[in-house]
Structure formats: structure tokens, C-alpha cells
């Protein structure tokens, strides 16, 4: 029996589509209900629907063997996991954004205030990559408000099309990382359930490359 932690929402749907293409029976997980654990005795799969930020936790601690989650969450949570497949969907960028006037002038502002939902990614980027100290302001949503209200000079956030930024007079200033959905595996499960997990990884990879060939 393999337990798979899915990130609730569109990512879960896309993952199930891919698993179906790879030849897995995922009908149990498609049932419209309020159940959080969906089990299929026949296929030997058990799905749990978790909040995206919790998926790495379930997998690292071994409550789930496999998880599907965005690279942004993985970077933020910094858990010890095996990260085996880039699923390619859910593509976006983690960016530093702010008023267009700051373009190429970011380094001139000392002790920047940075608004973000991702304090760890922000700290690693500014301290680790850019070698500078910043004041991080943790926010829980509508991060674009921070530079508009003067709460912070810039923000670090996910950018998909850039439309929200554009409509609020903000621009991408720097790219921190490219983001997409990843398959993660618990380190112990990879060893103890190798016979189930390794074939699943290769079937998913196969289905992915077939998908790419068709588009």
C-alpha cells in the first residue's frame, strides 16, 4: 500500500490525470466527497488531500510515502526529501517585485524591507545569494499591497503571468527561482517500498514524456 499526499486544488487534479495516463486506477481519488483520505484497495493506493504547505511535512515524517507539491513549498519548508520528478505543470517563477522605478536599482537601497509569504526563501535569497541583510515582513496574502502602501520596498512572491503585478503598477525586478510541481518521496519509503515506488516513478516519467511528445 502506497500513501500519496496531494496538494488540494488544481495540482491534485493534474496529478491524477497524469497517474491515470500512467495506467493507475485513481477513481477512488476522483470521488466527489468531503473525505480527506481516499483509499482504493484494488490498486493499492491511498490518497490524502492536504494543504500544499503541509505535503512536505507528511512525506518527510513518513505519514505519506509520496507527495506532489510545488517547488515553492519545497524551498520554503526545507524538508529532507527525495525530489525525483519535475512534473512541469504549475509552472511559474519566484520573483522579487516592486515599483518599476526600482528596476536595476535594487542594490542601492540599504536594509530593504521585503514583504512575503515565503520568509525562508526570502532570507536564503538575500542572505545566501545576494549577501545582504533585509528586514522580512511575513504576510499571508495580497502581498502586492506591501509596496503600494509603503509597508515594504519590495516583495518576494510567485509570478505566473505577471498580470496582478502589472495592474498594480509593479514589475518583476529579479528572478529567485523557477517553480513547478515536483514528485517527492520519503527517504525510508524509497528503500522499504522500492518495489512499488521505482516502477511508479518510471511510469510517471514515461507518461510525462509521451505527453510532451503530443503537444
Amino acid at each position: 500500500m502506497l500513501t500519496i499526499a496531494l496538494s488540494k486544488g488544481r495540482l491534485a487534479e493534474q496529478t491524477l490525470d497524469l497517474m491515470e495516463k500512467a495506467g493507475y486506477d485513481v477513481s477512488a481519488a476522483r470521488e466527489k466527497s468531503r473525505k480527506l483520505i481516499l483509499e482504493d484497495g484494488k490498486s493499492g493506493l491511498r490518497f490524502i488531500l492536504a494543504k500544499p504547505a503541509d505535503v512536505p511535512t507528511y512525506v518527510e515524517l513518513g505519514a505519506a510515502d509520496i507527495g506532489v507539491v510545488g517547488k515553492d513549498t519545497l524551498l520554503e519548508e526545507g524538508r529532507q526529501l527525495y525530489e525525483v520528478i519535475d512534473l512541469g505543470f504549475g509552472k511559474c517563477r519566484m520573483c522579487v517585485a516592486g515599483p518599476a522605478a526600482l528596476k536595476d536599482k535594487l542594490d542601492d537601497i540599504p536594509n530593504k524591507r521585503v514583504g512575503t509569504k515565503y520568509p525562508n526563501i526570502t532570507r536564503n535569497y538575500f542572505e545566501g545569494v545576494k549577501k545582504e541583510s533585509v528586514e522580512i515582513i511575513k504576510l499571508n496574502g495580497s502581498v502586492e499591497l506591501a509596496p503600494l502602501t509603503g509597508l515594504a520596498e519590495v516583495i518576494v512572491d510567485i509570478v505566473e503571468s505577471g498580470r496582478t503585478l502589472y495592474e498594480n503598477g509593479l514589475e518583476v525586478l529579479e528572478t529567485v527561482a523557477d517553480i513547478s510541481a515536483r514528485v517527492v518521496v520519503n527517504r525510508v519509503s524509497m528503500k522499504m517500498k522500492e518495489d512499488e515506488i521505482k516502477p511508479m516513478i518510471s511510469k510517471l516519467r514515461q507518461a510525462l514524456s509521451e505527453g510532451e511528445a503530443n503537444t
Binding site: L61, G62, A63, V84, I85, R187, K191, M192
Partner: protein, 385 residues
């Protein structure tokens, strides 16, 4: 202080019954280590902080720190190995030295899933001993330890840090590139490796490191592909280790996993991790650490391992392999004189028994025994017996 009933985050009490089980496990390990000629030592549990931080063995934030009366920075014991090397390096020893320990370790940081900040490890160190024979002895005792504790669903993965060091030379990787690839291999992250600018052959070797596991077949796959002498040597040494473990009949527990490359500063050769069901973390960890003694100005080639008794206990409980019971199986009450004579007679036979010292009635005694899980109740009437 509003929290006087609670233990600090990351620490727990060991409840009656479970504590006895753990002591039982400790005694099994103690007997096993001693049977193989390893002498037990006890280190104080408090060390100078420098012991761990000066050579970068442990990140500062993972140590519990305080000061002594002279204001020097102290910390609690983080692992068994570094204090053991400190101890042996400071003595005039005839090598090889075989020592063992069963101690509590303290690690500040992330906890959960059976992982605690305070936990018990048992381990051995074989010091002043090189070669595949020494590596294999430590591996064999690690496997025996798990089996002795009842963890029969066991997987041991063995790697060799010299293999990647050799590949770095063979592929002419820059330090920065090697660091990225090392981290990627540690995460089994084929995506990052795919993106590196490498020749097709080199990329295939690195990708195979993240994926392949087996025994001799893995070594045979890589051997014709490496030209660096160090990397070749690593593979030949692993082969020798497998040959010895096969004689023990332990090959079935073992997989070679060259993606296991660990942290560069600490391990210098063979490295291994042990896994079982129902716990999300490795329960066994070990390897060759020839350079740790250099931090003490000595050169002592060493190899060792530790097993987490705390995780082992969790695994045994979740695998339904552990039954807890109270110390006493009998309680004797009623007439005090008759009862105390009876209870001593039971104890003389080796039966663990409790004497009721509070004068409970027969009904009270029965319900007390039930609440405590004591199997047998004896209620004696004075004079009639």
C-alpha cells in the same frame, strides 16, 4: 511558570512499562557489543561547545548551550562519536581500540515523526583500524544490533564518499558545480543534474547514482565507467565489504546506494544508513571518519555506527512487536503478616510481587490490580491460611 506539568519541546518522559522495554533493549545491545569485545565508556554529557563547533562537525544552532562558572561556553552531548574521539585522542592507547556507548543525545532542531530532540543512541567505534575488514565488522554489528532488537524488516544502504570525490576529478567539476550536484544527488534530484552542462556519459553516471540500487550489479555497472583511481578504489573496497558480509549471510539486508554521499567534512570512506518500516527516518547511521581525530591533532583511522533506541522503540511499537507489562505480576493483600510472608516467598522464587501496605479490602485490592494491569491477586485472611 504555568507549564510545570509539561516537558520542554522535543523531550518526553518514558512511561512505566515502556521504560522497562527500553532498558531491555539497552541491555541486549550492551551484551552484543561486549560479546564483540567493545568496552563501554560513559562521557559526561556536557562538553565544551568548541568540541563540536571548532571543526564544523555540528552547526552551532543545533547545540543546547550554557556556560560554566568561569563563563566558558558548554553544550550538551550531541553524538557519541566526537566525545569518544576526544577521549581516545587524549590517551596513550594501543590500537586498534574498540569502544561502545549507550547514551542520551541532545539535538536542537526539527522534531516529529518519532524524532525527538532528546533521544538515546547505542553505538560502537572501532578506532585505529583501516581496511574493508574493519568496515565490514562495524556493518555486521550494526545489522546484528537491529536484529537483536527485533527489527527484522531491515534495509541497510551502503555508499562511499570517495566515489563522488573521484568523479569530481574525473569530470573536471568546479567546486561550485560539485556542490550543486552533491546536494542534488542527496535529494535524488535528477532535474538539477539534467540541467548541468555535462557530457552525455557524465550525466548518465550521475543520474545512475541517484537511481541505482542493488549489490554486486551496481558495482559492476559503474566500474567500467570510472577512470579515476580514487573512484575505482572506492568501488573495489565496497566489493570487498560485500564479500565479507555475504559470509555472515547478511547480503539480503544490504543495498549499495552510491547516491548516499553524506556530509563531506565528517565521513571519509564507506558510509551507511539503516531503515525499517513505520518510522520516517533512518534508525542506523554510520561510516568511516578518518579525519575527525585530526581536530585533536591525532591521526586515528576510525569507523563506527549508532542506532537510535528511541526510533527503534517507536518502530517496534508501530510494528506490533512490543508488549508492555507492569513490573509485578502478583499483588498480595489482606492480613499484613500473612501477606508479607507470602510476598517474600514469591520473591524468593523470582516472581515479581507487590505487598499491599495500605490495608485495602478485597474489593479495593481487586479493582486496584485491574487498574494497574496486575494479573494475579492474593487476598489472605489472618490465621485461617
Amino acid at each position: 511558570m504555568g507549564n510545570k506539568f509539561y516537558t520542554p519541546d522535543g523531550f518526553t518522559d518514558l512511561i512505566p512499562g515502556l521504560c522497562a522495554c527500553k532498558r531491555g533493549l539497552e541491555n541486549k545491545l550492551r551484551a552484543l557489543y561486549s560479546l564483540h569485545g567493545y568496552d563501554e565508556i560513559e562521557t559526561p554529557g556536557v562538553e565544551y561547545c568548541d568540541l563540536y563547533t571548532a571543526s564544523g562537525f555540528v552547526p552551532e544552532e543545533e547545540l543546547y548551550k550554557f556556560t560554566d562558572s568561569a563563563g566558558r561556553l558548554l553544550c550538551t552531548r550531541y553524538d557519541g562519536t566526537v566525545p569518544a574521539v576526544r577521549f581516545i585522542a587524549g590517551r596513550n592507547e594501543t590500537f586498534p581500540v574498540r569502544i561502545s556507548y549507550i547514551e542520551n543525545m541532545f539535538r536542537a532542531g526539527k522534531t516529529g515523526g518519532g524524532k525527538q530532540s532528546g533521544f538515546t543512541q547505542g553505538g560502537i567505534e572501532l578506532m585505529g583500524a583501516k581496511g574493508a575488514g574493519s568496515d565490514a565488522e562495524v556493518l555486521a554489528i550494526a545489522i546484528k544490533s537491529a536484529l537483536e532488537l527485533g527489527l527484522t524488516d531491515l534495509q541497510i544502504s551502503i555508499g562511499q564518499v570517495e566515489f563522488f570525490a573521484g568523479l569530481k576529478r574525473q569530470m573536471n567539476l568546479t567546486d561550485e558545480q560539485a556542490q550543486d550536484i552533491r546536494e542534488a544527488i542527496n535529494r535524488r534530484d535528477s532535474v538539477t543534474i539534467d540541467k548541468q552542462s555535462l557530457s552525455r556519459e557524465d550525466r548518465d553516471i550521475l543520474l545512475a547514482m541517484t537511481e541505482m540500487s542493488g549489490t554486486y550489479d551496481v558495482l559492476d555497472y559503474f566500474l567500467p565507467k570510472v577512470t579515476d583511481e580514487g573512484a575505482k578504489g572506492a568501488l573495489t573496497e565496497l566489493k570487498e565489504i560485500l564479500d565479507i558480509l555475504e559470509k555472515y549471510g547478511f547480503l539480503k539486508y544490504i543495498t549499495i546506494d552510491l547516491g548516499l554521499i553524506g556530509s563531506e567534512e565528517y565521513y571519509t570512506g564507506m558510509i551507511f544508513k539503516g531503515f525499517t518500516y513505520e518510522v520516517g527516518f533512518p534508525i542506523i547511521s554510520g561510516g568511516r571518519y578518518d579525519d575527525v581525530s585530526k581536530a585533536f591533532g591525532k591521526d586515528i583511522s576510525s569507523v563506527g555506527f549508532s542506532i537510535s533506541l528511541t526510533l527503534a522503540l517507536t518502530a517496534l511499537i508501530r510494528q506490533d512487536k512490543l508488549v508492555t507489562s507492569p513490573a509485578a505480576s502478583v499483588i498480595v493483600g489482606g492480613d499484613y503478616e500473612a501477606a508479607s510472608a507470602a510476598v517474600e516467598a514469591l520473591r524468593a522464587e523470582g516472581t515479581a510481587a507487590i505487598l499491599d501496605t495500605t490495608g485495602l479490602s478485597e474489593d479495593e485490592l481487586n479493582s486496584y490490580a485491574q487498574a494497574k494491569g496486575i494479573e494475579t491477586v492474593m487476598y489472605l485472611n489472618g490465621g485461617e491460611d
